[in-house]
Amino acid sequence: MAVVSRDGDTGAAAGASRPAAATRSFEPARMLANVGRLDWLAKMWWACLSVGLFAGLWELCWALGWADPQLLPPPHIFLSNFGEQGKFFNTATRWQVGNAMGEGPSALESVMITVGATTMRVFVGLVLATVLAIGIGVAIRYWHLFDKLVLPTVTLLSPVSPIAWLPVAIFLFGIGNAPAIFMVVVALFFHMVLATINQIDGVSPNLINVARTMGASKAQIYGRVIVPAILPGMLAVLRLNLFGAWMVVLVAESTGVGYGMGQVIMLARNTFNPSLVFFTIAVIGVLGFAFDWLLRLAQRRILYWLPDTKEKLRGL
């Protein structure tokens, strides 16, 4: 009706291009799913091989008598007495009056409580830091005066090591969850503000111009164009900062937060227990890996529209 003289013509064109487009979008999707599954298996295989190789070398050193099991106990030692090691994890109740070493929660429960506490601190810290950083970053670009007033301070504070903030965390929040979360937030926040600004400056001017010609206000341009456009980049930034968060939370926990993985490490140090150190390191490694995997999954789910450059790079 709209297309007057060439109706049949364009109709045929649309008809011809529709199935073509359907197969074009469908087949790669299915192929990718297959490739994805194979890819995943292959990845797991390589991960296991990599870790196995490392553990094997260690065991070999032990078998040859190069590694003193008192100082560098190999995996089969520090992983074998899980029941023993696990008990140490319940630093929360271990010091309570009347609780002997053998009482209280089981080993598995202890590990779960401690891991849960530390994970929660990392997670809350990450969420707070991300929300705050995107909020402040957007505000810096939105209000010129805010930019002038805030950006220099943010830039000044961003190279400060999180360790320097540790006393501040304790002065402000004493012990408990708050100082550990504060440490995670402070370690990530400043970098993420700068990253947000960087992302905003990289948004395609065409997208902004389209919104402007359609009569979008400044607030609408920020809310409907700039924020969605920077999300992919911000998720990548978040992934990069994830490991930083895991490092900082241990530092915070090791200085009197009460309980958590950091406390376990400190306990192991004070009681000269290398097995416990390596056991904790193994747990942290697995957790960090799992977090990264979850974020990557989220990245792929939420940001379905991004091209997969990595595949191209691998072919080079």
Partner: protein, 274 residues
């Protein structure tokens, strides 16, 4: 720059008087992109801007769209001074400018969402606009699932959904292959006839100009000025292989050659100077 009091019909779609643009004016990097552009475009007219690359064609479209401010002269659209962007003047870019996080229909109805229209109304308008570009089946697809030509048609649908009086198109088909481009030209002529809007279409392809234009505005090399305006009186649908079409092609090629040579020489001089 002084110019006489503007005399023009207030019913003209676009009127430029003494328009000039110097980028980064007043700084060391200042350079003049456009100079003394006088132009009258009638409602419903199809005008093609032809010129060597870098001569300021895109700049002129941005000025007419109201996305940039001119440093000289003024522009009117239907009697109103152009100061800000307006939905009445839609701009379509060479690269895809669809929002990748929205579906096709959400992209098309983006302008209505901004005005707070209901979802039902937005879907209805999007459906109608997509039907006009022959893409009804792609309503719920994502932009990355479409081919380049389909994406540009969605961009056209998005512009049409705003019921524009002027369609500004900046080399919209430049990234497409030759066959797709020919198809898209036919499609654009249908849309244009149907919508009654004026179209200002930038290209550096002479064939495209001959296929589409009522008038071809030929620009000089930078700073861009209007060299000539060639009317093309061939009846539509056009036979692009007729002798008349061939004659116009030759004429436009001649007009453009000097300017391309000049632009080239200038670029070479710049390259050797630095």
């Amino acid at each position: 720059m002084a110019f006489d009091a503007p005399t023009f019909s207030s019913r003209d779609a676009v009127v430029c008087r003494g328009v000039g643009k110097t980028w980064a004016a007043g700084t060391k990097r200042a350079h003049e992109a456009l100079r003394e552009i006088d132009l009258d475009i009638k409602p419903g007219e199809f005008v093609v801007f032809l010129g060597p690359s870098g001569c300021g064609k895109s700049t002129l479209l941005y000025l007419i769209a109201g996305l940039e401010d001119s440093t000289e002269g003024q522009t009117w659209s239907f009697g109103e001074l152009v100061e800000t962007p307006s939905p009445e003047r839609s701009l379509i870019f060479q690269e895809t400018s669809l929002f990748p996080w929205l579906t096709v229909w959400q992209n098309v109805s983006f302008g209505l969402a901004i005005r707070g229209a209901s979802q039902a109304e937005r879907r209805a308008v999007a459906a109608e606009a997509l039907q006009r570009v022959g893409l009804s089946a792609a309503m719920d697809k994502r932009p990355d699932e479409l081919s380049g030509g389909m994406r540009q048609r969605v961009a056209v649908a998005r512009a049409l959904a705003m019921r524009p009086k002027v369609l500004l198109m900046d080399e919209p088909f430049a990234a497409l292959d030759v066959q797709t481009r020919a198809r898209m030209q036919d499609f654009l002529l249908d849309v244009w006839r149907d919508s009654g809007a004026s179209v200002l279409f930038v290209t550096h392809h002479i064939d495209e100009a001959v296929a589409l234009a009522d008038r071809v505005v030929v620009f000089t090399a930078r700073p861009g000025r209007i060299k000539t305006i060639c009317p093309i009186d061939l009846p539509r649908p056009r036979n692009l292989f007729s002798r008349e079409a061939e004659a116009i092609r030759i004429q436009l090629t001649e007009l453009l050659r000097d300017e391309v040579d000049r632009a080239f020489a200038e670029q070479e001089a710049l390259a050797t100077a630095t």
